[in-house]
Amino acid sequence: MRAAWALARREVIRFVRQPSRIVGALLPPLLAWVLIGAGFAGSFRISGAAPGGSYFTYFFPGTVVLVILFASIFATISVIEDRREGFLQGVVVSPAPPLAVAAGKVLGGSILALVQGGALLLLVPALGLAVRGPELALSIAVLVLLSFALTGLGLAIAWSLESTQGFHAIMNLFLFPMWFLSGAFFPASGAPAWLRAAMAVNPLTYGVAALRNGLSAVTHPELPSLPLSLAMTAAFAVAMVGLSAAVIARSPAGPEARALGRGKSG
């Protein structure tokens, strides 16, 4: 699988050489965390939760997931640019199998998402969260699964799109709502029944719950149990990576081969 490794390495090299991408993926979620956290700090109370937990601490796991979501989106949206620039055509007509392309893109994007999400864990001591070795290992494992899940999902979407505008539309209509309804922003316990139902079927809910469990010393009876959360998150990751591979295998040349007939084709 040299082709997959080469593609993954290229993703990382490109990322490092475009500092604006690092800023773009890390800063907005951090800014949201600081502003929203400060805004809600005085008024937020989780019913039945241990007292003393501020909104900053509540919002933190969700912020980490948002960083991973942003990083995955940026990493997979590059597929559209690669195709427009012509880089991807060169890979498509190479002997490398389409699955290597999928594997390389998912691997590269996941590494970037994981590094960026993991960078936020450096804030853990400053937050005064009681997190030790086992909890940290659990958190990182959850980040790995979420990185693969969201990168796989992003790639499956991006592969069939011809423009980055299309991706932005899907991002606003689908990816962000998925995050809003994951328990990242507000707990399910206080939400109306229909919203709770939506949150229960949202696979991201379980990732956020697993991370919340990992990042705190107290138990959370209001959340899905840890084994369930981990199992659902792992299934989410496998399903999304599989979906991206299926989308690429079904249409190895991407939308352009279909689009040729509409425009000028020479």
Binding site: R2, F87, V93, P95, A253, G261, G266
Partner: protein, 320 residues
């Protein structure tokens, strides 16, 4: 290189391609010989890019088949792809990577032995005048250099056939000339076959043989010289000061010399006269119309004349 196969490097066998109900390629058959530079010439919408994409294994044909170095898609795309070097019209280099990184990335994608790939990359960069730019990012290169880097990349795995889609587009005249000699060199030095598409007569003129595609059909195939000869006669071009002058001169010319003048037409500020023995007309013209034209050029028919002769319409008319 020591391939004993004597068949064509590229055989196109009744290829058709439709997009919806539009027929972009209409049962085209042609052969490209090993070691030649072959140009697919045609206007936009003529079908040459569609043919290029099918041969590059980027797009499946609707019907018909093709062979690259004797192998058809039924033998497996992987085998064909290893024998092909492909240069798309949009740059296939990663602009954020250096020239050398791009070549080594290509080596990974094609699973070339690393040491051999590094050696060959060095050779190709040297040969294409890129050795001192190897560590520069592609985004820092000029259009001509980037195109050469791309060709070097496409040659890294030693393809038997190099396919290029409109390689001259966007290059200045000097870079075009460099490109032409580089491609001729690929055919002679590497023994590879070069198949390129172009909508520029000048580029097609430099090829060993050409095929002209119009509205999805093959309208001519042969060496530029042979195709021009088939049109017959000479072309006398009189350059005037403007389209109006040209039109008046053409009318007067027809009146004065009658049908014996040959085929008289105007193209912008020029009057074109096609006839056998074009030189016989020059002295009478100069005597009859002093000062009415600035220059008279006698030549054999151009590829544009071939195109007009075979299709009955001008080259720049949109086919769609």
């Amino acid at each position: 290189m020591a391939d004993a196969r004597s068949g064509p490097a590229v055989a196109v066998l009744g290829l058709s391609r439709t997009y919806g109900d539009r027929l972009a390629l209409d049962s085209v058959s042609l052969e490209v010989r090993p070691g030649e530079v072959f140009a697919l010439l045609g206007p936009n919408g003529g079908g040459k890019t569609t043919l290029f994409r099918i041969l590059a294994t980027f797009l499946p044909p609707s019907s018909g088949t093709f062979r690259i170095d004797g192998l058809s898609p039924a033998d497996g795309l992987g085998a064909i792809r290893r024998r092909l070097g492909v240069v798309f019209q949009s740059p296939g280099l990663d602009r954020k990577l250096t020239v050398r990184e791009n070549l080594l990335f290509h080596a990974e994608i094609y699973s070339l032995p690393r040491r051999e790939a590094a050696r060959r990359a060095g050779e190709l960069l040297e040969r294409f005048g890129l050795a001192d730019r190897a560590a520069d990012r592609v985004e820092a290169l000029s259009g001509g250099l980037a195109r050469r880097a791309e060709i070097a990349k496409a040659l890294l795995h030693g393809p038997r056939v190099l396919l290029l889609d409109e390689p001259a587009t966007g290059l200045d005249p000097l870079a075009r000339r460099t490109l032409r000699s580089a491609l001729a060199d690929v055919a002679r030095a590497d023994g590879a076959t070069v198949l390129l598409t172009t909508h520029l007569f000048e580029e097609a003129e430099a090829a060993d043989r050409i095929a002209i595609l119009d509205r999805g059909r093959l309208v001519a195939e042969g060496s530029p010289e042979a195709l021009r000869r088939e049109v017959g006669g000479d072309v006398l071009v009189l350059t005037t000061d403007g389209p109006d002058d040209a039109a008046r001169l053409a009318a007067d010319l027809r009146e004065r010399f009658g049908p014996g003048a040959g085929t008289v037409s105007t193209l912008e500020a020029t009057v074109r006269v096609e006839r056998p023995g074009g030189h016989e007309l020059i002295a009478p013209l100069v005597a009859a119309f002093p000062g009415r034209f600035r220059s008279a050029t006698l030549g054999s028919p151009s590829l544009e004349d071939v195109f007009v002769d075979r299709t009955g319409h001008r080259f720049d008319e949109e086919a769609a």
